[in-house]
Point group: C2
Chain length 279, copies 2
């Protein structure tokens, strides 16, 4: 995959050290690369060459990976297995895992700053990246998730957690793609909403798969069950959760198909592929 | 101080949450604000109004504060006291402290992206920020510091740790100030070297004060002694360390005074103030 090659090159350009090795260990562990792919699909749908989005594709995957490393820490979800391998703090140590996360987050912005696109677009995209990943976005979601573990009791409250924790970083690639394709603010906002719907679909699917698959099949430990977490499945039941997931995917696809000036077929077929994933 | 007001406003604009409260707790605890002040002194020395550097001044202090929060964590230096108050993970909890650091680091880039300066300068300054704070800069220094705790045995090796751990984030404000003042690459590199010299002076001073002052005087716990850390004082002795510190401060000042087109008196008097600090 294009993104894997790019990430590998980026990591080779980073000073070799224990923290660099830990960053590389987690970053090149072969994730699904959903966020970079969504970004590439967005610029392609607008008729641009995917190369224009390379730096932001890398930045998104670095931010996603940092969030996984920190989420897995003992003080957070305390997970041992990720992408079929020991989590970063298990493979290295806790201090190195904290630093690897910090390093990837910072390196994401460094990488984004290397983009050769229109300067105004670059700054706007970096702002979107920080906004969606930070304390008004993903970090807020992670905070709500930790805090509300004990007292999320209804679907609406859980939906809010997912909105920030998962939705924001799935909206970011769609928004960034639209900015790179020189779309107006209103269109960028529309893509944000589409990303939120897609993020919710994705998270409900994750919850649903967590109860149906073994850790070996998923390649990660099922900490939700161990931590007695409230999920869409525990709140709605397996049947309803599955129906909701399909509704949300359909809604996302419908939103994409009615986006003006956007050739949607390739992105839609990619989203159907995600919908039918087994891990 | 100007920077305190700006940071307060920035935190008010952030979504209220437990993580936002933890970010604010650590950010508004009244540090020395050395990095923002160095940035303001740089732009002023070039004849610019300090307002042009506000967003980057905030970003630098946010990055500095995030690094302190993560350094203080149990898996790192395990410190209880910072700026005269319980450390972030003591006041809140470990998970919240990890997220508060992540939040501040991300919010730093968000804040930087709001700058209204020349777009090319903004992107260059964000690149410097990420470079100096990331896995080729401060994060590398922190990694070397953790890793080499057991086997740094000579001054040269320790100097390398300080170069990355302290020097990089003291060079960043000088470099960013020079970019905002439209200086050429060579001049920006000169400022980087000046920052490295100043960072080393500052760190040796820190080591020296750590053995002379009580935690109550310093407002932070003396984890170096507890962790049996090798410092410039344990390697060189108190007398030599103090002489070295004064030499390094003098060298920094001499470098600043011979910078072309730069009115140095205000910055030099600020640096002498740092040199004479007691905590």
């Amino acid at each position: 995959m294009r993104i894997d090659e790019l990430l590998k090159t980026r990591m080779e350009e980073c000073t070799n050290s224990r923290v660099q090795q830990a960053m590389e260990y987690s970053l090149l562990a072969g994730g699904k690369r959903i966020r970079p792919t969504l970004l590439y699909e967005t610029v392609k749908g607008y008729g641009l060459n995917e190369a224009c989005a390379d730096e932001f594709a890398c930045a998104l995957e670095m931010i996603h990976t940092y969030s996984l490393i920190h989420d897995d820490l003992p003080a957070m979800d305390n997970d041992d297995l990720r992408r079929g391998r020991p989590t970063c703090h298990k493979q290295f140590d806790e201090a190195t895992a904290i630093l690897a996360g910090d390093g990837l987050l910072t390196y994401a912005f460094k990488t984004a700053s290397l983009s050769h696109q229109n300067l105004s677009h670059v700054v706007t995209c970096m702002k979107i990246l920080a906004d969606m990943a930070g304390p008004d976005g993903m970090v807020l979601g992670q905070c709500l998730d930790m805090q509300e573990e004990a007292h999320v009791t209804d679907w609406q409250a859980l939906r809010t957690v997912h909105h920030f924790k998962t939705g924001c970083l799935l909206s970011a690639p769609l928004m960034i793609g639209a900015v790179l394709a020189d779309q107006d603010e209103h269109t960028v906002e529309q893509w944000k909403e589409t990303g939120m719907t897609l993020g919710l679909a994705f998270q409900v699917q994750d919850d649903w798969m967590d109860v149906r698959e073994t850790p070996e099949q998923l390649g990660k430990s099922n900490s939700d069950a161990r931590n007695e977490k409230v999920t869409s499945v525990t709140l709605l039941g397996e049947e309803k959760a599955r129906a909701l997931m399909n509704d949300l995917y359909e809604e996302s696809i419908a939103r994409i198909e009615r986006t003006g000036g956007f050739e949607s077929s390739s992105m839609v077929s990619y989203i159907k592929q995600i919908q039918n994933r087994t891990k």
